[in-house]
């Protein structure tokens, strides 16, 4: 008896959920799949996208790929099976994520890339931060601030991350032209504030007389600054970061950090959500790739900026 009751219950449940789905078919749903939520920058990106989707009248859900392309594949499959009408996508890997974008296209679900690129023509639009050019601009300020001469340290992000190398290459594309600027150490600190602190502490033992630090993100820059404070060198070593995080903006105001490169996660996330909205309303011709400029923030213009954006 109990067994039949359970089966009946299951059938009813299945029926109920079917009903539910057809009932909400008119309300479009947007999946927001981001590479990681373990970094405030991406949390901000995802939340902004969700907020915009809500304003535009859509349901949305955030999926965290935890920097794992395999998990990202699961999210894509689930989102497609669950009837999501569009995917706002922050890929884990430019090449690894290609199959996921293809899968969505096959299922007729448009994909709008945010911040990071994916090497596939199947994405409906790609709005990304121009990290390379941003770092060239940062490098220009770096060269000027140091007056073309000095020893510096570079802190790399995660060595397996595309952004790590885009930023590093952009920086070196200019700085390496100046023989007076000598990189005495290049180490990875995994985009992490604590690693930035520890690696910098050790580097300072080997190279006590440095003039500047270039860090691949603001978290590492703040960690490096903390190490410089502890070593009593914070006053004459210039620190350069990348991202435009809240701490870094405040530190530039306080003249603790020299400069950072501001990315615009808010602009990117909103534009991607707007693209999805336009797609639902019938638009089909999107620019395949749209780079969003990364702006240099120094003490001179820091008052124009807030965390992750312009005032």
């Amino acid at each position: 008896m109990m067994k039949y009751f359970k089966i009946l219950l299951l059938v009813m449940l299945a029926f109920a959920s079917c009903q539910n789905r057809s009932g909400s078919a008119k309300q479009k749903k947007i999946a927001i799949i981001v590479s990681t939520l373990n970094n405030p920058w991406f949390v901000f990106l995802a939340q902004t996208a969700a907020a915009r989707a809500k304003t535009l009248g859509y349901d949305s859900k955030i999926f965290d790929s935890q920097n794992n392309t395999a998990l990202e594949t699961d999210h894509f499959e689930n989102a497609i099976a669950d009837g999501y009408n569009a995917i706002l996508f922050n890929p884990t890997d430019a090449n690894g994520s290609v199959v996921n974008v293809q899968k969505a296209k096959k299922a007729g679900v448009p994909v709008f890339c945010m911040d990071r690129e994916v090497n596939s023509p199947d994405a409906t639009s790609q709005i990304f931060s121009d990290s390379y050019s941003g770092c060239v601009a940062l490098a220009k300020d770096f060269v000027q601030t140091l007056n073309k001469k000095g020893n510096y340290v570079e802190l790399l992000g995660l060595v397996a991350d595309n952004n790590t190398w885009a930023r590093s290459k952009g920086f070196h594309s200019l700085v390496d032209y100046y023989p007076g600027l000598k990189m005495v150490a290049q180490q990875s600190a995994d985009f992490d504030r604590n690693k930035g602190l520890e690696v910098m502490e050790s580097i300072l033992q080997a190279h006590p007389n440095i003039d500047a630090v270039f860090a691949g993100n603001d978290a590492m820059a703040m960690g490096a600054y903390q190490a410089l404070v502890a070593a009593g060198k914070a006053d004459h070593v210039k620190v350069f970061g990348f991202d435009g995080a809240e701490d870094a903006i405040q530190a530039i105001k306080d003249k603790k950090v020299s400069a950072t490169a501001m990315q615009f996660p808010k602009v990117i996330a909103q534009a991607a959500a707007d693209d999805a909205d336009a797609y639902f309303k019938g638009k089909r011709d999107f620019p395949k790739k749209l780079p969003v400029a990364v702006e240099l923030v120094t003490y001179d213009n820091v008052n124009d900026y807030i965390a992750y954006g312009k005032k």
Binding site: L37, N38, N39, P40, V43, F44, L156, V159, A185, Q186, Q187, S188, D192, R193, N194, L197, E198, V199, E201, S202, I203, Q205, A206, A219, M222, G223, Q226, V229, A230, E246, D247, Q250
Partner: protein, 324 residues
């Protein structure tokens, strides 16, 4: 006879010998290694791992493992920072509770201990294997950290809080004092108390310990509670050193802690090992981290070298314990 005696001494001091050899090697390659400044530097850096891996040693001695320490570290630090900076606000009751420095630290420690005790409870009450129970806690505690911080760091915590991680007391960095206290207390517990004897007994032979009347559940719950509390101590040190509670703090720290325990000669099947061994293990990892950066070794190679050292340590340990 003399040879075997000599060998048993060698086994006892193998971690120490490895550490000394490592130091000499790095010292020969870099003249910056053997400086007082760098010595404090290494000690300060390993203080967090010492706190975690001492707790881990106690757990491993009972035959268990605690994979949740990194996440518990994160929430301990975040709670302490959050209480200090924002206090607790209950809008519905129009209530605001502020916290002093001591109160917020205590808050972090209490949360860490509670999560640890919860680990012990699920392991003993529901017979969940420690690997699974603490793996679940690894995710749960990280999730709570994200919920509490909303995914953003809590920064600018003030000078008195910064003293914990960056200050000096009688010529020695404060975090080094903290880790020294942790080590001494743990040694006293393991060597001089009934609890210590029970820990070794349970790890050696759980069934026999039960028959001899030891309350196994109680001992295990206490041990996981201590591990949780020590993880929170580590979290408070990290947070203070960075002047910021990072939601992703302590990620994969459990691996460094397990590495320290294993390099220190503690058997992963329980019952055999010492706190001092783990301290040496943590020192070896710390010196290695420091040395590889001093020598500007490529980040790719660093990972290979670190893994190789762990493997080597365990192989030597296995070979020696077979000889015993």
């Amino acid at each position: 006879m003399i040879l075997s005696q000599y060998r048993s001494h060698l086994v006892k001091f193998q971690s120490l010998i490895a550490l000394v050899l490592l130091c000499i090697g790095i010292g020969l390659l870099s003249d910056k290694f053997f400086t007082v400044d760098n010595g404090w530097n290494v000690m300060r850096q390993i203080s967090v791992n010492i706190c975690i891996s001492v707790g881990m040693t106690l757990v491993v001695l009972t035959g268990g493992i605690d994979l949740s320490v990194g996440s518990v570290l994160a929430i301990g630090g975040a709670i302490a920072a959050g209480l200090l900076k924002f206090g607790i606000e209950i809008p519905s009751g129009n209530l605001y509770i502020g916290f002093t420095l001591l109160g917020s630290i205590l808050g972090g420690l209490v949360i860490g201990s509670l999560l640890g005790l919860f680990n012990g409870w699920t392991i003993t009450k529901f017979k969940v294997p420690p690997f699974v129970a603490t793996l679940a806690m690894l995710t749960i505690a990280r999730g709570f950290t994200m919920l509490y911080t909303k995914g953003f760091p809590i920064s600018n915590l003030g000078d008195s809080f910064a003293y914990i991680g960056t200050g000096w007391f009688i010529g020695i960095p404060v975090p080094v004092w903290i880790s020294a206290v942790v080590i001494v207390v743990a040694i006293v517990i393991t060597q001089k108390t009934a609890l210590g004897r029970y820990i070794y007994a349970i790890g050696g032979n759980e069934h026999a310990s039960k028959l001899s009347g030891i309350n196994i559940s109680k001992v295990k719950i206490i041990v996981y509670g201590i591990a949780g509390m020590l993880a929170a101590v580590g979290g408070i040190i990290v947070t203070s050193r960075l002047d910021s509670a990072q939601p992703n703090a302590g990620m994969s720290y459990e691996l460094d802690a397990i590495a320290a325990v294993v390099i220190g000669g503690t058997s992963l099947s329980g019952g055999r090992g010492t706190i001092m061994g783990t301290v040496l293990g943590a020192l070896i990892i710390g010196v290695l981290n420091n040395g590889l950066v001093l020598l500007n070794v490529s980040p790719f190679w660093q990972q290979v070298v670190k893994g190789g050292v762990i493997l080597l340590a365990v192989i030597i340990d296995k070979a020696n314990s077979k000889n015993d």
